[in-house]
């Protein structure tokens, strides 16, 4: 008896473990995220963003043997006790130009949960909750719907999103 997996929903997560002295400056990314809320522009390129992006692309390539190609990048701020509306980062009428993966990175987060919705055969509308911490990432197929909940009362949560095409 044999089994063939035709498709899978892989959730990749972990901390960005940069070498000592080369850690990502989360304050800089937080500033850029806040600025973005005012300017409403694409996430600016910076040394810190590049450190993160390079780390993720290289480590995913070595560990899981596929390459990530950047599509877009943006930041979001969530108020205390806010639960976002569901997001999905593929355009159903333009799948050719849609990303393959969504990556969320905790820039300044506390008590934050990412809820990823998925179907398990006939069991539709299931969800998987994953906590997101500072300097932690979660990556999943861009076809998955997700929402972000900020459960704390003290401050806002800043999250960086990067979308990728895979090769």
């Amino acid at each position: 008896m044999q089994k063939k997996v035709l498709s899978e929903i892989g959730l990749y997560n972990g901390f960005v473990d940069m070498p000592k002295g080369f850690e990502i400056d989360l304050n800089k990314l937080n500033e850029d995220t806040l600025q973005l809320q005012i300017n409403n522009k694409e996430f600016p390129f910076s040394k810190e963003w590049d450190k993160l992006n390079t780390y993720l692309r290289e480590h995913v390539h070595v560990k899981y043997n596929f390459q990530l190609i950047n599509k877009t990048s943006w930041g979001n701020v969530y108020k205390s006790k806010e639960t976002s509306s569901p997001f999905i980062n593929v355009d159903p009428v333009d799948l050719r130009n849609s990303p393959d993966y969504t990556l969320l990175y905790g820039v300044n987060v506390k008590d934050c949960i990412v809820r990823i919705y998925y179907d398990d055969n006939r069991r539709k509308g299931r969800h998987w909750d994953m906590p997101l911490k500072n300097n932690q990432f979660i990556m999943f197929p861009a076809t998955q719907m997700y929402c972000i909940a900020n459960y704390q009362e003290d401050s806002v949560n800043s999250i960086l999103t990067i979308t990728y095409e895979s090769k």
Binding site: G21, D50, T54, E58, N65
Partner: protein, 149 residues
């Protein structure tokens, strides 16, 4: 052009960068690995000691242009950096194979595959057969297989 491998915390090669020869010259105008490492640290946000120079023309402990081999093999993404033996080597092909740290190559426990006979070589050339030895991990032997059969 000089090539440097970017090494992860787990000693895996993350990428290989090309550096202009002029950027690895010391004050005396001599190529110096540490100058290249410092250059890469400055421009690529990764510590100098995790950039290791590698030779594009070195494979299996031999420099294919007759020069001096450097660190066993040209580093490839996913290869392992062995700081103790000062070599790069690729992933282990079979569980039973052992690494020769002099040539930085993997070998079966019973040695390399036997050479093909003259008849088998001529059949391969005529494309009537395609004889090849392939490793049988279960039986710990080299099996002669005709890939066209």
């Amino acid at each position: 052009m000089a090539h440097f491998a970017k090494i992860s915390d787990t000693s895996q090669v993350l990428s290989v960068h090309v550096v202009n020869n002029n950027d690895i010259l010391n004050a005396e105008g001599v190529e110096d690995e540490s100058i290249g490492q410092a250059y890469l640290e400055k421009h690529s946000n990764w510590p100098a000691d995790k950039w290791i120079q590698t030779s594009y023309n070195t494979y299996g402990g031999v420099h294919k242009l007759g020069g001096t081999p450097l660190r066993g093999n040209y580093a490839g993404i996913g290869d392992t950096w062995d700081a103790v033996n000062n070599i790069f080597y690729n992933s282990k092909p079979y569980a039973s194979w052992v690494l020769n740290t002099t040539t930085a190559t993997w070998h079966s426990p019973i040695g390399d595959a036997p050479t093909l006979t003259a008849e088998q070589i001529s059949q391969n050339a005529a494309i009537t057969n395609f004889w090849q030895y392939s490793w049988n991990e279960e039986g710990q032997s080299w099996d002669l297989v005709d890939k066209l059969a």
